[in-house]
């Protein structure tokens, strides 16, 4: 009999440990504050799309049509094979399933999704752009993305009758630009810069105007890309009437337990808050640098780039009055921003792997484990703290992430190449 005692103790300890790791029932009811916090994350609480005073055509339907055409047009690249949709693929919530973007060649950053992005005041992982139209310009000229140039873009719009007509309906008469010159831009390699410097000031101005307007049309199109209602939203809205956690069957018990962790012990809601589950701000969460890259300075450098950008809110191509450029004026410039990257939305997150600014983390389970451990940051400090989540809780949190997926609240025609362009091609 005595020999059995250690065995019984071992079994009891094993059972105890298993219970600790794997038994985590959801709460029975929410506090009023928790219910309010959950409702604040529902799409029902999403404010109207914020105006962009720097883009007077942001909500112009014809500008969105022009942007739609440009977004899917592979002629906007040196190889004739790269469009915005090469990386921002509609069928993957405008991401590409790759760790690092591949345009003309491999890039240094993970392709961010575009869904709901027009609610954000800053763009790029490091916030180097202060408007969606200014953002849309840079990839066109980046050597690893479209490798195009503003002079070629101006030539293309001027030489394509369909694009010219649409452009002139939106922006008025197309300025005259030198046609089919060598690729010219002030932001390219030595040859492109030399070609740019060979143009006179008036030509440069005309090309820049067309370039900026193309960005404004692309932004008008991207404002159409909005998230649709998920099971989570149905659950959150039902909390109007009850704080019982099982008030409706939109979420499973496991997902409800995950939600409780999301707003509680795991504290995801500190940054992933509001209806888009993003505060649109910048945080250092101790993610390792991409293999072969130095740890990036993040927003610390991004805010400087935004200030110096000639296409920012205060620049000559912005439609805003200087006093309307509040984000730029009150932008923080602080050591706190070293290594900080933008909080992405968690809408549709289970469909947009891999994760982080460099696609460093392959799966959702690993992302949650990353936050559970909160490793020391390579640069500056990790704002997140270790969470001490148990095995069952890690799974619950992951289950909750799946409840945030839904088809977009965007008409299907915007999610494919424009029919008119396809029609024209078919006629040829």
């Amino acid at each position: 009999m005595k020999t059995l005692i250690p065995l019984i103790l071992l079994l009891a300890a094993g059972l105890g440990y298993a219970t600790y790791q794997f038994w985590a029932p959801p709460p029975g009811s929410w506090t009023a504050a928790e219910a309010a916090l959950i409702r604040s994350m529902s799409l029902s609480a999403l404010p109207p799309l914020p105006a962009d005073p720097s883009n007077r055509v942001a909500d112009d339907p014809l500008a969105a049509e022009l942007g739609h055409q440009l977004f899917f047009d592979e002629r906007l690249s040196s190889t004739g094979t790269v469009s915005c949709a090469t990386c921002h693929q509609p069928e993957h919530y405008f991401t590409d399933q790759l760790p690092l973007a591949v345009g003309k060649s491999l890039g240094p950053r993970h392709t961010p999704g575009l869904v709901g992005l027009s609610h954000s005041p800053w763009f790029y992982w490091d916030g180097r752009k202060d408007s969606q139209w200014a953002q849309a310009l840079a990839p066109l000229e980046a050597a690893h993305e479209h490798d195009f140039s503003r002079s070629e873009l101006a030539s293309l719009i001027s030489s394509d009758a369909g694009l010219t007509a649409l452009y002139e309906k939106v922006f008025g008469a197309l300025p005259e630009v030198p046609m089919n010159t060598a690729p010219a831009t002030p932001d390219g390699d030595a040859d492109k810069i030399a070609a740019w410097q060979a143009l006179d000031a008036e030509q440069q101005q005309a090309i820049n105007q067309i370039y900026a307007n193309a960005g404004k049309a692309l932004a008008a199109y991207q404002r159409k890309l909005q998230p649709g209602r998920s099971r989570f939203d149905d659950y959150a809205d039902a909390l109007d009437d009850s704080v019982d956690t099982r008030t409706n069957d939109s979420l499973t018990d496991t997902e409800i337990a995950g939600l409780a962790l999301f707003i509680g012990k795991a504290d995801c809601v500190s940054c992933h808050n509001g209806p888009l589950l993003s505060n649109h701000e910048f945080h250092n969460t101790g993610v390792l640098a991409v293999d072969g890259q130095l740890p990036p300075m993040g927003r610390y450098e991004g805010v400087r780039m935004a200030r110096q950008d000639s296409f920012n809110c205060l620049g000559p191509y912005s439609d805003a009055k200087p006093e309307q450029c509040l984000e730029l004026r009150f932008a923080l410039d602080s050591n706190e921003l070293v290594g900080a990257h933008k909080t992405p939305t968690l809408r549709n997150v289970s469909e947009t792997a891999p994760y982080m600014h460099g696609g460093q983390i392959a799966t959702m389970a690993e992302v949650i484990q990353h936050y559970n451990e909160a490793p020391v940051s390579m640069l500056s400090h990790n704002e997140a703290k270790p969470l001490g989540l148990r095995a069952a809780e890690l799974r619950q949190l992951e289950a909750f992430m799946h409840s945030l997926t839904a088809p977009l609240a965007t008409a299907p025609r915007w999610l494919q190449a424009p029919a008119s362009a396809q029609g024209e091609q078919a006629l040829e």
């Binding site: 009023a32 309010a36 809205d237 109007d240 500190s270 808050n273 400090h381």
Partner: protein, 138 residues
């Protein structure tokens, strides 16, 4: 000569989470008030009502002397942060004077997380300087 010891007033803004509301956590943002070491008072009023996270907004600041008279010409600096998260405000707000006596405008405020925040106001005028701290639960 006896110097008044610096006094710090922590004024807790009481929150009212409206239980039966379909809107985001609706905060009844009552004015924050504090008294400075020399008996002056400063009041902070959010111009965003209800006070919600993730929105750039302004506050009105009202500075009065110990007799309740408005005070012009002060230099006021407001900073803030979340002590539990070890970070500051996500923006760099600025205070400017307005045309109205004793009223200043604090622009460029944004809170980007729910939870416990602190705001610090440093008031300087005619060689006098003091700092007051406000607690804010969002």
């Amino acid at each position: 000569m006896k110097k008044p010891s610096p006094r710090r007033f922590a004024v807790v803004l009481n929150l009212l989470f409206l239980l039966l509301s379909s809107t985001p956590p609706a905060v009844a943002a009552e004015p924050l008030q504090a008294e400075l070491a020399n008996g002056w008072t400063i009041e902070l009023r959010s111009q965003l009502q209800p006070l919600v996270i993730n929105r750039l907004h302004s506050w009105q600041l009202i500075l009065r002397d110990s007799n309740g008279q408005p005070l012009n010409g002060a230099s006021i600096e407001v900073t803030g942060g979340m002590p539990d998260h070890d970070h500051g405000l996500p923006t760099a707000p600025l205070v400017s004077a307005t045309a109205e006596d004793g009223i200043y405008l604090l622009q460029g405020m944004r809170f980007h997380m729910p939870g416990y925040w602190q705001l610090r106001a440093v008031v300087e005028k005619d060689g006098f300087s003091d700092e007051v701290v406000f607690d804010l639960q969002l």
